[in-house]
């Protein structure tokens, strides 16, 4: 009777449950398809991901290639969205901006969610104990910092390489996931099926992995969707201040910063920068709204 054996079983169980959930995906996907705003959101998010992955094939020009003669131009046939201060194609820079940003945001959300949920489960399962209070206190401390300030301070100290940025932003997002998963665990803890499993003598591990975790996922997934947008905004903000993506890497925030400096020369950088960011944020909101509607149908206020 090995511990490893139990773990194996738990994972197999988790796998089985995941398989069943994926079979249910068709139903979830069907719900999203029926919901027009969620479709729009999903489309935008997909577009962002596709730009990131296929940038070299999609972008009309090399984002780093300068063309001084044609700097600050507005939209034209050649440069679809115009050019920036060094004559580089804005559209290409926007597409490549996704390439630089997207890996980070997914890294942040996955890492932040993983750690946050883990801590949240611990806190919820051992609720009322010192561990719970300690974890909650840590969550409070991290979230009592105005977000920008926290991230800024950490970047100022640890630098702004991709990896560091990912870690810092993930750190910032941990409390949200922690609190939500804790709340979910608290309400699931007292459900009959959990008590039944406990009564049957199942080990804690198993219960957590195969019962509590899958059932607490929906709000976490919804939060994750929303977070994609939030993190994009943070990265762009950091880049704007010069503390995120460093030039000449294409970044949306950087584009805004340059646009600000040269606001009198050309409004286009600001225009396209703002448009891109707003569209992405709307897309992520709609997408996560669609996820919420399909994962928790009782909560959507349809009709």
């Amino acid at each position: 009777m090995g511990y490893g054996n139990t773990l194996q079983n738990a994972l197999k169980n988790l796998g089985l449950r995941a398989f069943h959930k994926i079979r249910k995906q068709k139903w979830v996907i069907a719900k999203i398809v029926r919901n027009p705003s969620a479709m729009v959101g999903a489309f935008i998010v997909a577009l962002m991901i596709i730009s990131a992955v296929f940038a070299p094939w999609i972008a009309p020009h090399d984002p780093l290639k300068t063309d001084i003669e044609h700097r600050f131009e507005g939209p034209s046939a050649h440069y679809l969205l115009g050019t920036d201060e060094l004559g580089r194609d804005t559209l290409a820079r926007i597409i490549y901006g996704a390439r630089t940003t997207v890996p980070i945001i997914f890294g942040v959300v996955v890492l932040g969610a993983a750690i946050g949920v883990l801590l949240g489960i611990l806190a919820g399962y051992y609720s009322g104990t010192f561990l719970d209070k300690l974890l909650l206190w840590i969550f409070d401390v991290i979230s009592t910092f105005p977000g920008i300030i926290l991230v800024l301070a950490l970047v100022a100290i640890f630098g702004s390489s991709d990896l560091v940025l990912t870690l810092i932003l993930a750190f910032w997002r941990i409390p949200s996931y922690g609190r939500i998963s804790r709340t979910e665990i608290l309400s699931i803890k007292n459900e009959t099926y959990v008590k039944a499993a406990e009564a049957l003598g199942a080990r804690r591990w198993r219960i957590i992995l195969s019962h509590m975790l899958p059932n607490s996922l929906p709000p976490i997934i919804v939060l994750g969707g929303m977070d994609l947008g939030v993190v994009v905004m943070s990265i762009a903000g950091l880049s704007y201040l010069g503390l995120g993506m460093q030039p000449p890497k294409p970044s949306w925030g950087g584009m805004l910063s340059i646009g600000y400096t040269y606001i009198r020369q050309s409004p286009w950088l600001i225009i396209w920068g703002c448009v891109t960011l707003v569209i992405i944020m709307i897309g992520c909101s709609l997408f996560s709204g669609g996820l919420r509607a399909s994962l928790k149908p009782e909560e959507s206020l349809s009709e």
């Binding site: 409070d140 009592t144 977000g147 300030i149 201040l241 646009g259 225009i271 909101s285």
Partner: protein, 313 residues
């Protein structure tokens, strides 16, 4: 009730202690040596040593830590690296500017957001409601700095209706107000979207609650129900959102202040961080956090006053 607040205060204070510990730990992780920063490269090792000794940087870390805390309790947050002026007064003097921006911004957003939320419930499910739904979802997505840049582009550079930069001259109230318009608008757009949605959702919930049904069936007029019963119950989530948002803004109107070149706490902290002026940054961060915690306490007090269930537990 006092006991309840006493407990909450203790918890919040412990959070404050945690934050402060965190901040000061960060400060110690600073790469680079203040002495090197102050002096130029050309200074000889002896001069450097002398300065290090003067700044007390050659004492063992624990002693430095203790010294640091001792100084803080006496209000001594250190000095500007270059100018030698004491840090705390400068930091505190930046607070009122941020305060004005944050307060005006929040009140403006609250007012408009509530009005729109109430209207959309009143005309629930009509075209107006749906349009507002789309608009507020969009507004939500327009983050501070995006709004700021966009507004500046349109209303300042293009149309020249409002000044882009600065805060207006000393005695010129009208000018100062004009300088506030765009920054406040930039702050408010996403808040208005957020508040409108919260208000509408809470009102929708309360409108279909049991007690509203009862009140209706006893003949209480609709307007009275909405105002007296629904709104009162809607206050709780609103208060939490608004007051903590206000608290966050106090420390974090970083972008607005940078973009519109206004004095304020956020901008101070950012400049300090980018210029590696750590004592300033640290002091600024602590002030911001304290303000936030005060806001959180305020939110809890208001909640307890409005909802007797909390008070009497």
């Amino acid at each position: 009730m006092l006991k309840y607040f006493g407990k909450r205060l203790l918890v919040l204070l412990s959070v404050l202690v945690g934050v402060v510990l965190f901040v000061s730990t960060l400060t110690y992780l600073i790469p680079g040596d203040p002495a090197t920063i102050i002096l130029s490269q050309r200074a000889t090792p002896e001069v450097r040593q002398k300065l290090i000794h003067e700044l007390g940087l050659d004492l063992p870390p624990l002693v430095r830590f203790g010294q640091y805390w001792w100084k803080i309790f006496h209000g001594d947050f250190g000095y500007y690296m270059l100018s030698g002026r004491p840090v705390l007064p400068e930091v505190l003097s930046a607070v009122p500017y941020t305060f004005i921006l944050a307060t005006v911004g929040i009140f403006f957003s609250l007012f408009i957001g509530m009005v729109l939320g109430i209207l959309s419930i009143y005309y629930k499910d009509t075209l107006f409601d749906h349009i507002l739904d789309v608009l507020s979802a969009t507004a939500l997505s327009v983050v501070q700095y995006v709004a700021a840049l966009g507004l500046m582009l349109v209303f300042s550079v293009a149309l020249d209706w409002f000044p882009a930069i600065g805060m207006g001259d000393k005695g010129d109230i009208v000018g100062q107000i004009r300088h506030l318009v765009l920054p406040v608008l930039a702050l408010s757009i996403s808040w208005i979207g957020y508040i409108q949605r919260i208000v509408r959702q809470v009102l929708a919930e309360t409108l279909f609650s049991e007690y509203v049904k009862t009140a209706k069936s006893f003949g209480i007029p609709r307007r009275r129900i909405i105002i007296r019963h629904c709104l009162r119950n809607a206050v709780k989530p609103l208060v939490t959102v608004v007051v903590t948002g206000w608290g966050a803004l106090l420390g974090g109107s970083v972008f607005i202040e940078s973009i519109f070149a206004r004095k304020g706490l956020g901008r101070l902290i950012v400049t300090a961080l980018t210029q590696r002026d750590y004592y300033v940054a640290q002091a600024g961060i602590m002030v911001a956090v304290v303000l936030f915690i005060i806001a959180v306490m305020l939110a809890e007090i208001i909640n307890a006053v409005v909802d007797p269930r909390i008070r009497l537990e």
